[in-house]
């Protein structure tokens, strides 16, 4: 079964496989296929401004999926297009097997959504708000909303108009965590919350994941994404720049060390296709070149003395080439990014003339920076991550 296409220049219809109902409580309808959320070349433009461009991604049932990106990257636009609040300029999407442009009500029946700036009817008190939303949503559950509100220590007798920003956010969270929908979409859920409540909210997100609900979580707080998400997508200037599975990220490490004597940077850096912005890439290359000129003055004599040793140094064993990326930091230290099991890499490292060796997990922050500031090596090292060109098409 495929979505109908109205115009010849429409993007390709989303392939939707008919499969048996998945073995999870919040399973998809039979017509939905494998992905709970699927977009295909979804774009949204406002005049000359493109808020979202050719975004193709899939979110599997039961997955906690993170959306990362700076302000204006297109995260909220993507979410609002999925809910039917926005009409895409082009592209298709399916949420729980329903096209938001065709049947947005069916989509929202399966989704509990927390907007980035959740505003609630100001004339109601807290309890009235919870009752209202529990009643209006077919899978609403007042007792659960009340339980969440109690856990968040929310005063429900107060009118919304007299609540602080944090209290309103708590109330909105109680509203959203009430319905037992298969999909939970949270746009910056921990904004305006104190650290304790943040922890509670993240625990609630994890609990939703454990219950088999699909969660899409948009946040600027990288640690929260690391803590909760199974997979994460990076948006940049409306483009889906990168996707990453957190388990892969946790297997990635960065080795930083100094060489016993200054070495020249290699010139044959491996190049890999990513969605990095070309300008950012140029900037990084320029800064790396500048750093190399400072760190290792490549005079002809020095080159001659170090020739053999240097060649040996850069010769990454063939069995590690797919999982090791070597580069330089701005301060002249060598940087070796690894993916997968560290055991075989450690053997190779022990043979290298390195001092002050430090091995650290390659956190989401490094990937985030690489996506948004053009450090290609971090993005491309290791097992290939899916990019906007190979997802969902």
């Amino acid at each position: 079964m495929t979505l109908p296409t109205d115009r010849p220049d429409d993007p390709p219809a989303l392939p939707v496989e008919i499969s048996a109902a998945p073995d999870i409580p919040y399973g998809l309808p039979e017509h939905c296929g494998q992905a709970m959320v699927r977009t295909c070349r979804l774009s949204k433009s406002y005049g000359n401004f493109t808020a979202l461009s050719d975004c193709s991604l899939e979110v599997s049932p039961g997955e906690i999926f993170g959306l990362l990106g700076p302000n204006g990257a297109g995260k909220t636009t993507l979410i609002r297009a999925l809910l039917g609040h926005l009409h895409p300029t082009s592209g298709k999407s399916l949420v729980a097997g329903f096209d938001p442009q065709v049947d947005p009500v069916a989509v929202r029946r399966h989704v509990a959504y927390l907007p980035g700036d959740a505003r609630l009817p100001r004339h109601m008190n807290g309890k009235g708000v919870l009752e209202f939303f529990a009643e209006i949503h077919p899978s609403g559950e007042l007792s659960r909303s009340l339980a969440v509100a109690e856990a968040l220590e929310l005063d429900l007798s107060r009118r919304v108009a007299f609540m602080s920003t944090g209290m309103r956010q708590k109330l909105a969270l109680a509203v959203v965590f009430g319905p037992r929908t298969p999909i939970l979409i949270l746009d910056e859920p921990t904004a305006n919350l104190d650290p304790t409540v943040r922890g509670q909210v993240l625990e609630e997100v994890l609990a939703a994941g454990r219950d088999g609900r699909t969660v899409m979580l948009s946040s600027h707080v990288l640690s929260e994404i690391e803590q909760t998400c199974v997979r994460v997508a990076f948006l940049r200037r409306g483009h889906l720049a990168h996707q990453l599975t957190m388990s892969d990220l946790f297997q990635r490490h960065r080795v930083v060390a100094r060489t016993e004597s200054p070495l020249q940077q290699p010139t044959n850096r491996r190049s890999k296709t990513t969605a990095l912005d070309s300008e950012a890439r140029k900037k990084t290359t320029a800064s790396a070149d500048a750093a190399s000129a400072t760190a290792s003055p490549a005079t002809p004599d020095a080159m001659a003395r170090r020739g053999d040793r240097e060649a040996a140094f850069w010769e990454v064993p063939s069995e590690l080439r797919s999982s090791v990326e070597v580069g330089w930091l701005d301060d002249g230290r060598i940087r070796i990014d690894t993916a997968g099991d560290l055991q075989p890499v450690l053997g190779w490292l022990s043979e290298l003339p390195l001092v002050d060796v430090r091995i650290e997990p390659l956190g989401l922050h490094a990937v985030y920076r690489s996506v948004h500031f053009g450090d290609e090596a971090v993005v491309s090292a290791g097992p290939p991550c899916s990019t906007s060109s190979d997802v969902g098409a």
């Binding site: 409580p25 919040y26 399973g27 998809l28 309808p29 909220t76 609002r80 809910l83 609040h85 926005l86 009409h87 729980a96 947005p104 009500v105 069916a106 929202r108 029946r109 399966h110 989704v111 959504y113 907007p115 980035g116 700036d117 959740a118 505003r119 609630l120 009817p121 100001r122 004339h123 109601m124 209202f132 939303f133 009643e135 209006i136 949503h137 077919p138 899978s139 559950e141 909105a172 509203v175 037992r180 929908t181 298969p182 454990r210 219950d211 088999g212």
Partner: protein, 346 residues
């Protein structure tokens, strides 16, 4: 009941069991309740004002003797063309009470309700930022708009009926004092009146209900409702396009004032009379309806075949035009709202 299944101590709702709890005809019970809650204070204030004004306005009619009223009005005979009906039709208690429907307070209360409620539906919710959460629930935009419209229209109807009820109460409880002159005889072909008695004129007190029937204002009330319905539709249309409520109100008020000026100019200058036909005010004829009741009975204003004396169309067609225009505005508003992008809260 939802088909819930228990897993790991948590009640889970399978996808196919999710159903809507709504009333028929694309309305949503909770949205209706919310709209009632939001508008109840305004409604209560306007209802009290209209009821009280309707009552007081009737009472004020009795304070001024008919002869005195006639003398006052004759002073303004040159400006009769600005009046909705001829002055002669006003020289009755029924006609004077019927003027209530053209009183600024009545018009103001109606306009306030219609513009306040109509402008709130889309741009109001967008401006407050509450639309995002509301339309993230499984309700369609049509349900959202129609639920709001239902409350607004029923509220308008109740306000019109409240005014009518206030007038009816006023008519029932108010008494008027009439002066009966002593018997006299008029000499034929002269203006000479010869009293047959030297007694002083007799004053009698009669209930106003002996002179005025509250049912005579049913058609006028219907006209007021039609007038308000059009304004509601117009406000809703502007609201469905916009994202700022203040701008919606400004737009509707601009249309209102321009139409009012056109209507006034059409009345003032014969050469501009065609402008009257281009304004919706031309369809609002409550006093004319009252006069028709006095002249042709209670069913006269409901005729839809015989054109009125100084107009082109039958009396029932005028309010129907307003109702149709209101419906068209609502239809366009619905279409616009369903097709537009919802901006994120600012």
């Amino acid at each position: 009941m939802f088909d819930l299944q228990r897993r790991g101590g948590v009640m889970l709702a399978p996808l196919h069991s999710l159903r809507r709890r709504s009333v028929p005809f694309a309305l949503d019970r909770m949205l209706i309740r919310k709209a009632i809650g939001q508008s109840s204070l305004l409604f209560a204030a306007l209802a009290i004002a209209l009821f009280a004004f309707g009552w007081v306005r009737v009472w004020v009619v009795t304070l001024l003797d008919m002869q005195q009223f006639q003398n006052v009005l004759e002073q303004f005979r040159d400006y009769e063309k600005f009046a909705p009906i001829s002055f002669d039709a006003l020289f009755t208690y029924s006609g004077r009470v019927g003027m209530t429907f053209d009183e600024p307070i009545v018009i103001l209360c109606t306009v306030i309700w219609c513009i306040a409620r109509g402008s709130d539906v889309v741009s109001g919710e967008l401006g407050r930022g509450t639309m995002e959460m509301l339309l993230s629930q499984p309700i369609s935009r049509a349900q959202f708009l129609m639920s709001h419209a239902l409350v607004s229209v029923v509220g308008l109807l109740l306000l019109c009926l409240t005014l009518w009820a206030g007038m009816a109460v006023g008519i029932e409880v108010t008494t008027l004092t009439e002066t009966i002159p002593p018997p006299s005889v008029r000499v034929p072909f002269t203006s000479l009146v010869i009293p047959l008695s030297d007694e002083a004129p007799q004053q009698i007190t009669v209930p106003l209900s002996d002179r005025v029937d509250a049912l005579a204002y049913a058609a006028a009330t219907f006209h007021l409702f039609s007038f308000g319905f059009f304004l509601l539709g117009l406000s809703t249309l502007f609201s469905s396009i916009d994202r700022y409520r203040w701008r919606t109100i400004g737009g509707v008020m601009t249309v209102y004032v321009v139409q009012l000026v056109m209507y006034g100019l059409g009345k003032a200058a014969e050469s501009l009379r065609f402008l009257q036909g281009l304004t919706f005010f031309n369809c609002y004829k409550p006093q004319k309806m009252t006069a028709m009741v006095n002249e042709g009975g209670a069913s006269a204003p409901w005729n839809w075949t015989q054109p009125i004396s100084d107009g082109w169309l039958p009396p029932l067609v005028y309010p129907l035009i307003l109702l149709c225009l209101g419906m068209i505005c609502y239809a366009i508003a619905m279409r616009t709202f369903r097709r537009r992008d919802l901006p994120a809260p600012l």
